[in-house]
């Protein structure tokens, strides 16, 4: 009963997150100046058709409540609306671009995690603190670079690609946290005792550290997923990857509300599901400790 309640609360949390994102996006775009404009109005040939389309939309979505009602009605029928920019169903646009983004996201996060984990394990195995300022400095320099600038550097120098940029971003962020986490864990009394007893580093890591740090590692992995989602937009725009980030950027530049709402919904749902997994890991860990 208790487990079912916990699951229900978490699912409600994800749903409310998605609804909040949708509501916020619709309200913002609907109150934006120039929402009821149509590019066809600029063209003399289509001006009357453009004006008629605007009037029709104004009649249908005259108030904020009406706009919300139209959107919700569409979602309940499985439709995310029609793109104002491309004049095709939004679901079609999402389907076409989801594959490129998923591939980039999963590959980038996985590569970033492997890199940061390998570096952390390698560097935390040392018994001295020599070289710590150098590690801190190089991490700080990489963290200080905006994703857009990093992507541009890679593009111009023809070194690496979008996945490399995402992987590097994740690796640097996670390395900083992982390294600190592991160094602290290695200084714990029971680990020091195990080391004094002659246990190998690999065994300490497997038997003590990975078990105790499991939940934190899972949370960190989910957090890096959220970071990668945010970095998706500049990376896809700069490398011209036809994914969801580029679609969202195009929609934002062209005030394509249905597309922007749909992409924000998808991203919010992804973050919600990721946080669900992270919380599940922490709860399991707490239950094991209890």
């Amino acid at each position: 009963m208790r487990v079912a309640r916990t699951i229900l609360i978490r699912l409600l949390r994800v749903v409310s997150l998605v609804l909040l994102a949708a509501l916020g996006t619709i309200v913002l775009m609907r109150v934006a100046p120039g929402y009821f404009t149509d590019s066809r109005e600029m063209d003399g040939q289509y001006a009357s058709a453009g004006r008629a389309a605007v009037q029709e939309r104004q009649a249908e979505e005259g108030t904020l409540a009406a706009s919300l009602a139209v959107s919700v009605r569409g979602w309940s029928h499985g439709s995310l609306g029609q793109s104002r920019q491309y004049d095709v169903p939004v679901t079609q646009l999402l389907r076409e671009r989801a594959a490129a983004s998923s591939k980039l996201l999963l590959g980038g996060v996985a590569a970033g995690w492997l890199l940061s984990l390998a570096l952390t394990l390698l560097l935390s195995a040392r018994r001295t603190r020599a070289g710590e300022p150098l590690i801190a400095l190089s991490t700080a320099v990489l963290l200080a670079l905006p994703v857009g600038a990093l992507a541009t550097f890679c593009l111009l120098s023809e070194f690496g690609g979008p996945m490399f940029v995402l992987a590097l971003l994740i690796a640097v962020r996670d390395f900083k946290l992982l390294y600190r986490m592991l160094r602290q864990a290695l200084r714990a009394p029971q680990v020091l005792y195990a080391r004094a007893q002659g246990f190998s580093y690999a065994r300490i890591l497997r038997v003590h550290l990975l078990r105790t740090l499991g939940a934190e590692l899972l949370s960190l992995a989910m957090m890096s997923f959220a970071v990668a989602l945010s970095a998706l937009v500049p990376v896809e725009v700069i490398f011209d990857v036809p994914g969801l980030g580029q679609l969202a950027w195009n929609a934002a530049m062209n005030r394509d509300l249905p597309v922007l709402v749909a992409v924000t919904l998808v991203m919010a749902a992804c973050v919600g599901v990721a946080s669900l997994f992270a919380e599940a890991g922490v709860t399991q860990e707490t239950a094991q400790c209890a």
């Binding site: 109150v31 400095l137 700080a140 320099v141 989602l229």
Partner: protein, 269 residues
């Protein structure tokens, strides 16, 4: 810890020196950040332009100095506003009925889990197209402040709630002090170190966020220089072939962020 005491003042001095140098350049240079020298477009270092010009012939030194000042001023203002908002909401929630406090914290948590770049893009894209450059800068940093406040609300609430339930505060309440008096005179001073920490932490975040937003063309509008609009120049390969001085803004941004990181060194240690 001893290293932190050595590094921190040095970082402050370097930061102050950089800001003063930027101020000096902007005020003493005969060029304006928007002035176009059409005879020297996309040039490298020359007698008139010490670090070259951009694709419209504008002096890069002056524009970089102005971008530094604008970026830092905007980030400091946004960070101060975000921290103040977080403290206000945190203290307000601590003194409010439990259901209001819980609802506020839930909303903040939900807000935190949203992918911020999509939200920022939505908000920025929904602004009027005829926005003046100064207004676009104000609004961009104002949005960053609004989006940053929920990050710090929970920790402020927890601290304010602990102080509110302290015995000495109960004594103050029993002595007839009103809620506003308690909050202003007794709770807020206890949140000052927290305010300072979150303020310092959020300044570099605002700088990077503005740079990322500007790279996408959704930040401060031209001709006002900002880190984001300066970084957009990097996308022009022709400019890069012409002069390596085009890397100046990004190099300076990294240096400023490193200095801010060193300022925060003590917090980390």
């Amino acid at each position: 810890m001893r290293l932190a005491f050595t590094v921190r003042p040095v970082a402050w001095v370097l930061l102050a020196f950089t800001v003063l140098a930027a101020l000096w350049i902007v005020h003493r240079s005969p060029m304006d950040y928007a002035m176009q020298d059409r005879d020297h477009i996309s040039e490298g270092r020359s007698a008139q332009h010490s670090t070259g010009t951009d694709e419209l012939g504008r002096d890069r030194t002056v524009r970089t100095a102005a971008a530094l000042l604008l970026g830092l001023a905007g980030a400091v203002a946004a960070s101060a506003l975000a921290s103040s908002l977080a403290v206000s909401v945190g203290v307000g929630a601590a003194f409010a009925p439990v259901w209001i406090a819980k609802s506020l914290m839930y909303l903040c948590d939900l807000f935190l889990t949203l992918p911020w770049i999509f939200l920022l893009m939505t908000v920025r894209a929904s602004l009027p197209l005829n926005l003046s450059p100064a207004h676009s800068a104000e609004l961009t940093f104002f949005l960053l402040a609004l989006l940053g406040a929920p990050v710090f609300v929970r920790v402020n609430y927890a601290r304010a709630f602990a102080v509110r339930n302290a015995e000495w505060l109960l004594h103050g309440r029993a002595s007839g002090l009103r809620t506003m008096q308690l909050a202003r005179r007794h709770v807020l001073p206890h949140l000052r170190p927290l305010f300072l920490s979150q303020f310092l932490i959020y300044v570099p975040v605002c700088l990077i966020a503005e740079a990322n937003l500007g790279t996408l063309g959704l930040g401060v509008t031209q001709p006002l220089p900002s880190w984001g609009s300066m970084l957009q120049e990097l996308e022009s390969s022709a400019m890069l072939a012409g002069s390596h001085w085009v890397y100046l803004p990004i190099a300076l941004l990294v240096v400023v962020l490193l200095m801010l990181e060193l300022v925060l060194f003590e917090v980390d240690a």
